[in-house]
């Protein structure tokens, strides 16, 4: 009902393609994170989804409405936190939110109540009556977030929502957004460079590179995509022969760290048999101190997928169990 779809979405500036044949689906109730290098087209995409920028070609359906035809209807059910927001600096936070509440046609008593509630949720209650000119960077970001939520949106678009916020603030905002998602089923579409946050917070992740969506799926889907699913870290005591023995190992291993006491090496092999590994360790008489599987984190996936040389040296990218229609996108050239 309140999902987001883009179909062959495209934005060109002159001959430059900022967004290129973008097709994806975000299900209602999902938390979708769009990541990608600077200039990848994240902001451009979000603006087209919110109707402040018209696409050169393609179509977007937000909350069941086609933005080209029913942009006013869409605007009543979405909230958008733009990449950078200006403020009427002479107003205080409360007045600012009230102004927007009125623009959304929210009646006074309800607006006042919602505003108090919102200011509380974004942690600005104490500064509600101070002029916005005196707000700090993070406080302004919180106010902008409150403004994006003033109309009780069913779908929230957040372009780098926690930018400029302190660590506690980031956590608080994440928690608030999660609550919103759980309690009211609000669909959240965000872009961010805080990949650790994205990987814990979003259940669907899209990677945009040079205007193209090169991957889309859950974190595990993305791990499979880069064949980074199984990696094992082995830590052994550093003995004289250890390193030379390692070079003759039957596994595909790389030495990660060598200290006086220990040697860490990583085995990356999708079809590894743990028993084999343990047998080999026994046979070589290594003094094992640690053995654990490490999962590839989003940073590594991101760096691999957006590496300009990546696609030349790897198999085409496919995600098997992605719920989105663009399964099997190949990376851009």
């Amino acid at each position: 009902m309140y999902g987001i779809s883009a179909i062959a979405l495209e934005k060109t500036y002159g001959s430059f393609r900022a967004v290129d044949s973008l097709t994806f689906n975000v299900k209602s109730g999902d938390i979708f994170g769009l990541i990608g290098p600077n200039g990848a087209g994240k902001t451009t995409t979000m603006r087209m989804l919110c109707g402040t920028l018209s696409p050169t070609a393609g179509k977007t359906i937000v909350g069941g409405f086609d933005i080209a035809k029913e942009s006013i209807k869409i605007k009543t059910i979405i909230g958008f936190l733009p990449e950078s927001t200006g403020f009427y600096n002479w107003m205080n936070g409360e007045e600012y939110l009230y102004y927007f509440a009125r623009l959304y046609n929210i009646k006074e008593p309800i607006a006042r109540k919602n505003i108090r509630d919102l200011l509380d949720r974004v942690g600005l209650a104490a500064k509600a009556f101070a002029p916005i000119a005196y707000y700090s960077r993070g406080m302004k970001q919180r106010l902008a977030l409150a403004r994006a939520m003033i109309n009780d949106p069913k779908i929230l678009f957040l372009d780098e929502p926690t930018l400029g916020m302190d660590p506690r603030g980031q956590q608080e905002i994440q928690k608030m957004l999660l609550d919103l998602n759980h309690e009211k089923g609000v669909t959240i579409f965000l872009s961010s460079h805080a990949l650790t946050d994205v990987s814990t917070f979003c259940n669907q992740i899209g990677i945009l590179n040079r205007g193209r969506l090169i991957a889309h799926g859950s974190l595990n889907d993305l791990r499979k995509l880069v064949n980074g699913s199984t990696r094992i870290l082995v830590r052994i005591l550093n003995t004289q022969e250890a390193i030379s023995k390692l070079s003759r190992s039957p596994f595909n291993n790389t030495i990660d760290k060598v200290t006086e006491e220990s040697v860490d090496f990583i085995i990356s092999d999708d079809n590894i048999e743990f028993n084999q590994l343990v047998d080999w360790i026994r046979k070589e008489n290594f003094k094992l101190t640690e053995l654990r599987q490490i999962k590839m984190n989003l940073d590594e996936i991101f760096l691999r997928l957006t590496n300009p040389t990546y696609d030349k040296h790897s198999t085409p990218v496919t995600i098997k169990k992605s719920p989105s229609p663009q399964v099997g996108q190949t990376p851009s050239k």
Binding site: S54, F80, G86, R102
Partner: protein, 251 residues
């Protein structure tokens, strides 16, 4: 009319916002004082005095309309507050119309302030009503024309520096021939043609004919009224066409 109200409250209710009212009133007082007391100037007949004063009102109104309307959009674009306005479920053209109306409202306040001066200057003649009505008519039409065209321009030019500059140049382009050019220059073929299409010239000529030559009936002024009206309509059409959709491209 939320945006309209914010705009108005910014330029009328607050002290700093209302500085222009005090300035305008000072200009009116100064000009009226000069007209009434200066030995040579006061030799002018009253119709001429009223005419000069009406010119001052109209020019002030035009300058104010140009600056106020072009800055009302472009300052929001520059401050980055415009994108949020565009996100609200209000048609873009509605935003533009509210901004335009707030400028016209300010013109009306300016005009209301000028009325007592007109009455005093017309004292003892039968010109007071005509002066008030014609200044009101032409001032309002030209204020609408300048505000609409200035907003359409700032919609495209986006920075306040550029849009205010262009708006002022348009005001100057319209008013310079009547205000500064010698009569001989205006009587050349080209000069006459320019005067025929220039709504400001029509306004000035009409006020001249009403206040100095005492041709007060509307039908006598119709040849001057309709070009101003047409100009206002053309500006409004341009305005409605350009402000239908705003693209955030350069924000």
């Amino acid at each position: 009319m939320i945006i309209y109200r914010l705009e108005i409250s910014g330029s009328i209710y607050s002290w700093r916002g209302a500085a222009w009212i005090i300035t305008a009133a000072s200009i009116f007082s100064l000009v009226a004082y000069l007209l009434l007391t200066d030995k040579e100037l006061s030799l002018l007949d009253q119709g001429e005095m009223l005419f000069t004063f009406s010119e001052v009102i109209i020019v002030l109104g035009l300058v104010m309309s140009g600056i106020n309307s072009s800055s009302s959009i472009s300052t929001e674009i520059e401050a980055g507050t415009f994108e949020c306005l565009l996100l609200t479920p209000i048609k873009h053209v509605q935003i533009a119309i509210q901004k335009m109306l707030s400028t016209v409202t300010i013109w009306i306040v300016l005009y209301l302030i000028s009325i007592p001066y007109l009455i005093v200057l017309a004292n003892g003649t039968n010109l007071a009503i005509s002066a008030i009505l014609y200044v009101g008519l032409y001032g309002t039409l030209l204020s609408i024309a300048i505000s609409t065209i200035s907003i359409a321009l700032s919609w495209m030019l986006k920075t306040s520096k550029n849009s205010i500059m262009v708006a002022l140049m348009i005001v100057l382009l319209l008013s310079a021939p009547s205000l500064f050019f010698a009569t001989s220059l205006r009587k050349t073929d080209f000069g006459i043609m320019l005067e025929n299409i220039n709504p400001f010239s029509h306004t000035i000529n009409s006020l001249d004919s009403v206040l100095v030559d005492n041709q007060q009936a509307v039908y006598e002024q119709f040849t001057h009224i309709w070009p101003v009206l047409v100009f206002t309509i053309i500006c409004s059409i341009i305005f409605l066409t350009f402000t239908r959709k705003f693209e955030v491209k350069m924000l």
